[in-house]
């Protein structure tokens, strides 16, 4: 039964990875840059959830959407102030796109970590559980009530996001801009608006992930570094910019770590991601579901 237990636990972790990685992938699709402050959106969500529940005595089920909204607002602000130069035609200022994006998002990540460290404090709080049931028996597998409900909530959000991106009007706009920015704008889509939507959505999803895991990993200022590092592996694994690839890569990495932690080495379970990343770069650089791109 160990195998089943490991599989379920791996999938659970994978679902939370997916919340992070889907947003990262969407941002890459639209702006063709990697957001190195993604872990800090996670951290913002974890703090928003925990502080809302502990300091304002809010019910965890209300704190959860609140964390999503706070994440969205942070994402919107970041997009408006820092990301807009990437596409708003400030090229004459000698701006190099990739360089600018890496430096600015990396600095933003350090800024947010240290702001929280200074003004809220370096100590972790334990986020409240969504439900107070310590263990639930799912056949032979035991999970805590919080884990089960958090996983269900995350799964619902992921499926909703995938459906929105696939079928809704906004989702079509997002995909159009990801495919061809100029073409989309000729068809009457406003790329600036789409970028803002994508950034807000991605930040909200990461914040959601942080909020749902606040009971398991206590929020500290640098709590986001780890899930972020995982989601960078995942977007390479799934194929840069591919949303279904990110979802699948997350589950693969979660299960791999879960099994590797028992059968290979518990201490080094977090190193498997890097090994996987290097193997993918060596043998399938376009990722699992990515398309091989050609440049002319």
């Amino acid at each position: 039964m160990l195998t089943l237990d490991l599989l379920i636990n791996g999938l659970i972790i994978g679902v939370f990875y997916a919340l992070m990685a889907i947003g990262l992938s969407l941002i890459f699709g639209i702006l063709k840059v990697v957001n190195f402050a993604h872990g800090e959106f996670y951290m913002v969500g974890a703090y928003a959830y925990t502080l809302a529940a502990l300091a304002l005595n809010l019910s965890p089920w209300l704190a959860l959407p609140l964390a999503f909204v706070v994440g969205m607002l942070v994402g919107l602000m970041v997009e408006r102030t820092l990301m807009r130069p990437l596409y708003a035609g400030y090229g004459s200022w000698g701006l190099r796109r990739d360089e600018y994006a890496v430096i600015v998002t990396f600095a933003l990540s350090i800024l947010l970590i240290n702001l929280v460290d200074k003004f809220i404090g370096p100590y972790g709080f334990r986020g409240p559980a969504l439900v107070g049931i310590p263990r639930i028996y799912l056949g032979p597998v035991i999970v805590s009530g919080h884990r089960l409900f958090a996983t269900i909530a995350a799964t619902v959000v992921i499926i909703a996001t995938l459906l929105i991106v696939r079928y809704s009007y906004w989702g079509r706009q997002i995909r159009a801009v990801a495919q061809n920015r100029l073409g989309a704008s000729l068809a009457g889509i406003d790329p600036a608006k789409v970028s803002a939507i994508v950034f807000a959505l991605a930040a909200g999803l990461a914040a959601m992930s942080g909020a749902l895991l606040a009971n398991i990993f206590n929020p500290t200022p640098d709590v986001g570094a780890f899930p972020a590092a995982k989601s960078y592996v995942i977007v390479v694994l799934g194929g840069m910019g591919s949303v279904p690839g990110a979802a699948m890569g997350s589950l693969v990495l979660g299960v791999l770590e879960s099994f590797g932690g028992v059968y290979v080495s518990y201490q080094y379970r977090d190193a498997f991601g890097l090994v996987l990343l290097i193997l993918v770069l060596l043998f399938r650089p376009q990722g699992l579901l990515g398309e091989k791109s050609r440049e002319v």
Binding site: E99, V236, M240, P285
Partner: protein, 322 residues
Amino acid sequence: MQMLADTRGRMRAELWASLVILAGVAILPTVMTNDYWRGVIVVSMYFAMLSIGWNLLAGYTGQFSLAPATFGMIGGYTTGLLAYHLNATGLSGIPAALIVAGMIGFILARIVMRLRGPYLALTTLSFAEIMRLVIGNSIDFTRGDLGLNVPSLFESRLIYYYAMLVVLALIQLGIYALLSSPAGLYLRAIRDDEVAAAGRGIMIVHWKTYAFTISAAISGLAGALYGHFAQLVSPEMGLISQSGLIISMVVIGGLGTLVGPIGGAFLVYVASELLREAGGYQLIIFALLVIVFARFFREGLWGLLSAGHERLMARRAAAPAE
């Protein structure tokens, strides 16, 4: 050819400016007798070496690694582990650190540099996190988060001070020689336009790997020297915030200039020591500064200084005509 001559003149001016800074640092101990502040300058020199290494890669080759501090940590651990397990004595650990860090950099670059775009930043970031974790978790081999004691090399702090200064000056001259050679032209061509560089027959992967290896080796050397000075290496040397500090030094000083990393390292590190006493807001301030500089002043403080100088020269040239 005119443009090439201009670049040469600019680089020479930057080299002279950096040598002036180093000369200032050389005479500093005569007026600054406080041992603590001498130590601060030694640590600044460690950061200056890491910044030079990162600037070669990011500023001159256009490849954004997010793991400069990690290679410093690797260098520190190489010499520390050699002393701890094999009782390697004296200076033998320092060239070993240079070679080991260079080799790890070479292998990583061979894997990553075949791809374009954000893969390098992504891979180096995961590499940084995971190296720190591996070193922190291998308690039997590295003593984990406790840190590893490294034997001291010299009796007095002043000898460290000048040893670091000499190495720093040699690295700076070496980088200048490298950038003035054809290799330097290839690297800058790759930075400016990879496709065009490949079109002119420059082996992109080869030269990117070359820059990454040199950058990693310099960082390893710096880490080994720092380890002997601090007599302790710990996984904290490889924290992401340390890499952030290095990047902020280069961006504030002037990315893609010879003087930027050195000036930035001294400024930022000394300022961070001063700010630490005033409440510890240093990283918040530096991160904000980095965002502002990356957004508005791409060439950092050095760019601002030389733009101001040029405007002054233009005004002076225009004055007699009035």
